[in-house]
Amino acid sequence: MTSKNISITVNGFEEKVPENASISFLITHFKEEDSNLIAEHNGRFVYPDKYSAIVSEGDIIEFINPNFGG
């Protein structure tokens, strides 16, 4: 049985990812390494304890590295 892929937009690019992919999966998959990474799901901030949230077809995900310089 092959897993089905869905199309989502990640950091402005259309990507095919497995159906039932979570934010957590995407962080690993797209090699986002900053421990304080900001994840945005359809315009909403996603708190780290909600990274188990599953993405759906057409969702828009942005990963933003925080800026701590001054």
Partner: protein
């Protein structure tokens, strides 16, 4: 509430004529007490704008001395200030700009042990630090005191800013609960520091004036290489170990 003198009326004329400010607003600015954490890249600009706008009392705190590599962006300091304490350099310029603004300069590191004493009766915290650890100290203090905390940060051509208000917004550690290892050196460009700190200064002024439209529950993220300004909607979380226990109970919806 302190009144406005004729000299002040003239000095601030161009902002007093703004309907949202007026003479009443100028009095509010004069009676305000603002804490600026750091007078480096962000603090140079925000302290200057705060003093220029007629904020009555500014407390500036920094532990560093002016270095040559600061001068590409820390425009409060000049070549002749190299090796001076930053607060000493800053206070000279700020008093020269506006002798009507009372400025208290403290050349110290901001720590858990001294933050409450440093804050004193300041009613707003403007974050102009360059590291996560100090921001966490400021975050806990603003929750404990129940006062706004205006966060800003830069990295190269990018920057972000938001306003945290206990009881109304998430807190800094709701957004950034992890401890990031400190980066050795973050790229810092003068205009980017200027842009973010100007936005922070606007937030402070609007809060003092009691205006709506602040960046509460909105993180403004700027990618200036492509001139993209975006905002991320922030939502309260009930699970924050910091603000859900604080005075403001800020993570409860």
């Amino acid at each position: 509430m302190k009144t406005i003198s004729s000299e002040e009326r003239t000095r601030y004329d161009r902002q007093i004529i703004i309907p949202e400010i007026g003479e009443d607003g100028q009095k509010k600015l004069k009676n305000a007490r603002v804490f600026i954490a750091g007078v480096g890249g962000l603090g140079s600009i925000s302290a200057y704008y705060m003093a220029a706008a007629g904020i009555g009392f500014l407390k500036i705190v920094d532990m560093d001395h002016v270095g040559l590599s600061n001068l590409n962006r820390q425009i409060l300091h000049r070549t002749g200030d190299i090796s001076k304490p930053k607060t000493e350099s800053a206070v000279e310029k700020l008093r020269d700009l506006n002798p009507l603004c009372q400025i208290q300069a403290v050349q110290k590191e901001i720590r858990d042990e001294n933050i409450m004493e440093l804050l004193g009766d300041c009613r707003i915290i403007l974050d102009a630090t360059d590291n996560m650890e100090t921001r966490k100290i400021l975050n806990r203090a603003h929750i404990s005191k129940g006062i706004p905390f205006i966060y800003g940060g830069i990295d190269g051509f990018n920057g972000m800013v938001t306003t945290f208000v206990p009881g109304q917004t998430p807190c800094f550690e709701c957004l950034f609960p992890q401890n990031s290892p400190p980066k050795n050196k973050v790229g810092a460009l003068g205009p980017m520091a200027g842009l973010i700190s100007s936005l922070q200064s606007l937030e402070v002024i609007k809060i003092i004036l009691g205006m709506d439209g602040t960046l509460k529950n909105r993180l403004l993220y700027i990618q200036s290489d492509d001139m993209i300004f975006r905002e991320i909607q922030l939502k309260k979380t009930p699970d924050c170990k910091i603000c859900s226990l604080g005075k403001g109970d800020s993570c409860d919806e």
